[in-house]
Amino acid sequence: MRAATPALRSSPACLRRVSVGLTRALSKPIVQHRPKAATTAGTTGTDTSIVLAVLGAFILGFSSIATGVNFIVTTHTLRPPGMGWFKMPLFAWGLYATAIIQVLATPVLGITLLLLAGEKVLRLGIFDPALGGDPILFQHFFWFYSHPAVYIMILPGMGVISEVISVFSRKHIFGYRFIAFSSVAIALWGFLVWGHHMFVSGMTPLAATIFSALTFSVAIPSVIKVFNWLATMYKGSIGLATPMCYALMFLFLFGIGGLSGLFLGTLAVDVHVTDTYFVVAHFHYVMFGGALVALLAGLHYWWPKITGRMYNDRLGQLAALLLFVGFNLTFFPQFVLGTRGMPRRYYDYTKLLERHPESSTLHLLSTVGAFVTAAALVLALICLVHSLLRGRRAPANPWGGATLEWQCSSPPPHDNFPTPPQVGDPYDFSGLEYDPVLGGFVRRGQGGDRLGGPSLVPSSP
């Protein structure tokens, strides 16, 4: 941030003032989810930087809404001929559920940000108690958006995992409809649990109990998915290519993350671990071990399709393994630290370690793990960049996927398909065989397809 300022010195003063305001605004948390009278309202008139950042987030919110509208409409009206709802890839179901949340949750964030800006500029007492506002209302509004927002992050990831696990187990996905409907169930049910972020903010015991029960029940659709993925792998012919390594890592880490969420949904335990490292560990097991690892799985799965280049699989596996070690080393000790009372936000670790020297080992492990995690991510980046420079050309279907994108060449040509592709079962791998010359999979009885052109012949035998 600071480095950018000298470059702006020659620009007009007003521009500089705007940019400095933005820099200052962005160095604060943009949406502060625990409003305090002194920080949300400010005591010295209007805080321009906050207003600018809030309006920026408002505009971003509308781009998110537009994306959600686009995906819903595309799914409804632009599926290719022959693709019914239950012939869609599960990734598309995941994106559809995500779009529902974007459309329903983001407007509430939008109005919250507008009211916050209005409070700043016009001094209306909406959230700030010093002006007669209600800070609890801000927390309700904030979490009504921000709890569904974590499902916005995880649902596409769950869609990726459904694809990868089926393809690398060479087995039809188990429980297609259950996985598809559980995505939609998460999208809708996820709107009823925001109160579990506010158990200690001030809430009637009845409301807290209802939110706790709803929180437990929202775990069910996620568990349905996990069991269906495990059942898909059962007796499958599992290949441990890099995307599958990340998918298996997702199962393990998301499992721990989800189960630790049950601790937090329990009212009495939540009071004990609120605002401790336990919450930090839980959040990272779900969002890093879940959403980010799923993103890496998807990136490595579709990388050959996106770029037309194969990466070094050994290097990718090594990065995945290193990430697994580094991640657990970073965040598992934080579960232990959290249950022992380590606060979530801390600023003077020297004093902390003087007072509690027994916690230094776990803090050290966590710090070392953070560096290992960073090294693993750098290694994964090196692996992918190397493939762009030196990787061999990717065949149309390197992993043997049965969804439509593997029917066109890698990377896809302009307009994707010269003629509309044949829609079949997205998880029927029976006709696909590995061709060692091509380095990829072809449909049985298509020896003439070795030049890597799109295989558009109907797959039904």
Partner: protein, 179 residues
Amino acid sequence: MSHAEPLAWHPPHLAHHFDTPRQQFAAGKLGMWVFVLTEVLFFGGLFCAYAVYRANHPEIFIYAHQYLDKSLGAINTAVLILSSLTMAWAVRCAQLSQRGGLVLCLVLTLACAAVFLGIKYVEYRHKWEEGLKWAGAYAPKLAREPLSTRDASLPVSPPSTATGRRRGTWGFSSASTLP
């Protein structure tokens, strides 16, 4: 949903990613309905904030309503509803290819909009001159009586928001679960 064969001749108003005008119309219509749904959520948040504010500070609303002009407000409500009718009628005329009716309805709608804005100008100008602005610039000139003599028993000075704040009137905000 219909998947007709792609047209050989591409109409100029048909976007490249659609096969047929019918598909494009279906997509646009669904998109507009979904967008209207987002607006429901958007204004739902606003009404929620209004309801909470009103529950926490009923005295402010009782005080402020003395300064509203009921007849101007009633006229504007009627104008708004009438313009909704003429706009919907205009859409119907367009569907039936009735050009004259369409033009008439649109002109009436625009006229209603002008009347609405004119009345709003009168109302807001009055508020502005009286110093009845938003919270940050609130400086009322209280020398005059409230508009409605029937409510003359009500307080003439504005209640203070900071002292008049009442907690616990809203179910969620009671802090009784805290140890």
